[in-house]
Amino acid sequence: MQNTDEAELIAQSLDGDHEAYAGLVDRYKNALYHHCFAIVRREEVAEDLAQETFITAFYKLRLYKPDYKFSTWLFKISTNKALNYLKKTAREVAADDELIARIASEYPGPLQQAEDAELHAAVRKLQPKYRAVISLYYWQGMSYEDIAKVLGAPHGSVKGWMSRAKSQLKKELS
């Protein structure tokens, strides 16, 4: 459900108030950028996809139902865009050594950096759909229920994908 402030921004945006919409963009831009990046693995593409997500969301705002969290709806649009991007380009972006070495970390000690790089490389090998599940659950803090809404899949399927993603990661990281 929305909080009052957010509901107000949405209502104003529906009236064509671009400043109000900028408030919504500011609120979710980083989360969407990070999520898109987790799937497509290229910063410039992730930024474009995040931007496209907000443009689409604005024009489709009337289709948003307030009984969903607004963020869930945004993640749904961005996930679709990111997965479609990968389908269209039909290629995966190689994670080169430089990129792995420069992965940002909140705990940038050498050990943490190495572990993050390893994790990055392992996640890269997952199917895009599994990456989306991992990103939404662990890094965006979403519930399985919300992830099911984002991916348009039954709750059970999401759990199954998560389980397969984790066992693949375990294998990669062992």
Binding site: S13, L14, D15, G16, H18, Y21, A22, V25, D26, K29, N30, Y33, H34, F37, A38, E43, A46, E47, A50, Q51, F54, I55, F58, Y59, K60, L61, R62, L63, Y64, K65, D67, Y68, W73, K76, N80, L99, R102, I103, A104, S105, E106, Y107, Q112, E115, D116, L119, H120, V123, I134, S135, Y138, W139, K149, G152, P154, K166, L169, K170, L173, S174
Partner: protein, 316 residues
Amino acid sequence: MKDIEERLGAGSVKPRWPLGDNFTSKVIERLGDGQTRPKPRPKWKEYINMKIHKPAFVGIATLAVVVLGGSAYAAVGGLDGVRALFGGEKHISGGDRIVKVETQNCPHIDAFNITKKDRTANEAYYYKIKASSKLTNEQVVHMVQGSCEADNEGLLNSAVAQKVASLPENKNKLVGGYVDSVITAITANSISLKSDTAIGDKNGLSTREVTQTYTHIDPHVVVLYKGTEQKYSSLKVGDHVSISYRATGAALQNSETIAPDTIDVNGQTIVLITRLSPQMHEYFDYTKYNYKEFQQVTPCATTTIGYCTLDELNKK
């Protein structure tokens, strides 16, 4: 080695650089000059939304014939004074023409002002008619009249529809089917509906019919006609209806990509059937011809003809 849960929880796969400071301004810039608004819902969704969520409305009383600029167009017999009137025409380059339609007491959804608070205020609407179209001005006026009446009829039905939607078993689960479906078979336990999937869909420009058979009818299904409840048994083959069903699975998803004809109807239970009046068909003509032969425009200074479509405005 850390546990996988711990590792995933501790560090995310992050981009190498943060978003630029101007990210938000770039998004807003792309939305245009401050006049751009969210687009209206596709008609099949708008109609059910109106029936379920909008407050009840009673129109105001009435006139039927108006003379403007030497031309007289009798408005179609309306519901409580909803009317559309010819307001003049202007020929533009390439043989296209602009037709002005003035409405009174019309709860018409204006593509250019979808969030207008007073939807029944008297308004003038402008339509660009393609040179290749055989539509007469009178037909255009009648289509707008039908559209007004369709919306009004939806509002008349809304009180009962709201009641149905608020039942605990239906709350947040009701979804609308196509705005106009024709009953092709009906029994106490099932109903087959033929629908034109192009109605109301800008992208569905080619007409495509789909027939779906719903085998779950709620024992308390409500049948509505112009705001009054009727018996399910009064429905017959050939009636035009619009349905609402208690949805499961994909049908319940809030996605612009979910089309009714892709939904497994066996999982859906019909709880509301709205029988449509003949006036509704004027409205469906409107939606069939819309974007193909004519399109709503609004006066603007940014095109050579002095009128802009919604897309043209959005691109600014």
